[in-house]
């Protein structure tokens, strides 16, 4: 499930604060989900709770980490060191959670050679060599939209089967390759939609405003505060 990473983060926080066990309801509250849902999620990866007591935090962390394949540190290659790429290269949230940025790449040769956070930017054409010297399991695309598809093709060509795409475009990849997309502007637009809806509702509480704002009701974009898509 896409919720497992959230559970994992909450569990780490609990472990840091000294808890050795958690009840399903306690963990559910920390993550913001229903306790039954959480129990069902955890039951899917085997029973690791003790009735009357709860779940062993350390054991659960190990289990979830194992399922997510985080027992080993995964190497990621970041393509595109523009504005966003710079930030991602320096983001310390990756190293703490089982990932290591192993290579920085860019198509712009004027950027090649630049050093960011201890890594030297290399040209995207060196991708085969980079994969050869350091097994890359995930590629991150932080290029402008027009360049994204070409980069994705290159990543796929060298055997990368998981791509995180920050470019605002859809990538076409062969079967067996997973793509996740993060579009920052879309997130804002969804919030804008809610904002617009709230404004209309408060202005016209009786009629509900135009038909546009009075959609079926639950249309409220899946879940708020749910990690991307989730």
């Amino acid at each position: 499930m896409s919720r497992l990473p959230e559970y994992l983060r909450a569990l780490h926080a609990l472990a840091d604060s000294g808890h050795e066990t958690v009840s399903s309801e306690g963990l559910a509250n920390a993550v913001g989900v229903n306790s039954a849902k959480l129990r069902k999620d955890l039951s899917h990866l085997g029973s690791y709770g003790t009735r009357g007591v709860g779940y062993d935090v350390a054991l659960l962390i190990d289990q979830i980490s194992s399922v997510l394949g985080l027992t080993q540190c995964r190497a990621v290659a970041l393509v595109g060191v523009g504005n966003l790429g710079h930030a991602l290269a320096g983001y310390d949230g990756f190293a703490n959670r089982g990932f290591r940025i192993a290579a920085l790449l860019d198509a712009d040769r004027s950027r090649v050679g630049e050093e960011i956070n201890g890594l030297v930017v290399r040209h995207v054409d060196e991708l085969p060599a980079i994969v050869a010297e350091d097994s890359i399991s995930i590629g991150v695309i932080a290029t402008p939209a027009p360049a994204a598809q070409a980069v994705a093709d290159q990543l796929v060509a060298v055997g990368v089967t998981s791509i995180l795409n920050f470019a605002p475009c859809v990538l076409s990849v062969p079967d067996g390759v997973d793509v996740r997309k993060v579009d920052l502007a879309i997130e804002l637009q969804i919030l804008s939609f809610h904002e617009h809806r709230k404004a209309s509702l408060t202005a016209l509480p009786a009629t509900g405003g135009s038909a546009l704002t009075a959609l079926p009701g639950g249309l409220a974009t899946t879940e708020t505060q749910e990690a991307i898509g989730t």
Copy 2:
């Protein structure tokens, strides 16, 4: 729906390439969804297609923009100008899509006064004044996790009802306030899960590997290549 922004982006691309009308199937292919789903989505905001022809691109753009509340440029306040905040402040994908970063804030006084992309960083305590001088509709939190809740409280206190949270933690906000969360590490962990699963399946195609990798099947984390959240 959370898919409307994706439709909007595809429509803009079509408009730029000269198309005046699109069939539901053409647009669906561009976005990567089922054509029936797309037609149903569009029908929820009133019928704006012509049978036998398709949808008028310009008209549809206006309609979706209107539903999303993008007819006016929305002002966002960005709190936290660390690594990620810097990138967001300089990200040009916002201005092109109906958003304007109106203020940069940080709790660290040593950062106050710094100029980024033509904006001067101000202290987070100035939030009430900033909202007063420039109506803010969305707040973006790009602070470390421990500071995020306090910032959220401050944003709510000055009347912000939509928050985009990049800090890896859950925010508790009163009803009526929408929070969307983007956790970059979680995205990578989800990809790691898929990677781990693929590795196990190819190694043990018959048994499907351990029970961990042989979950119910459709567990594959909602949708790939769906904007967060989806």
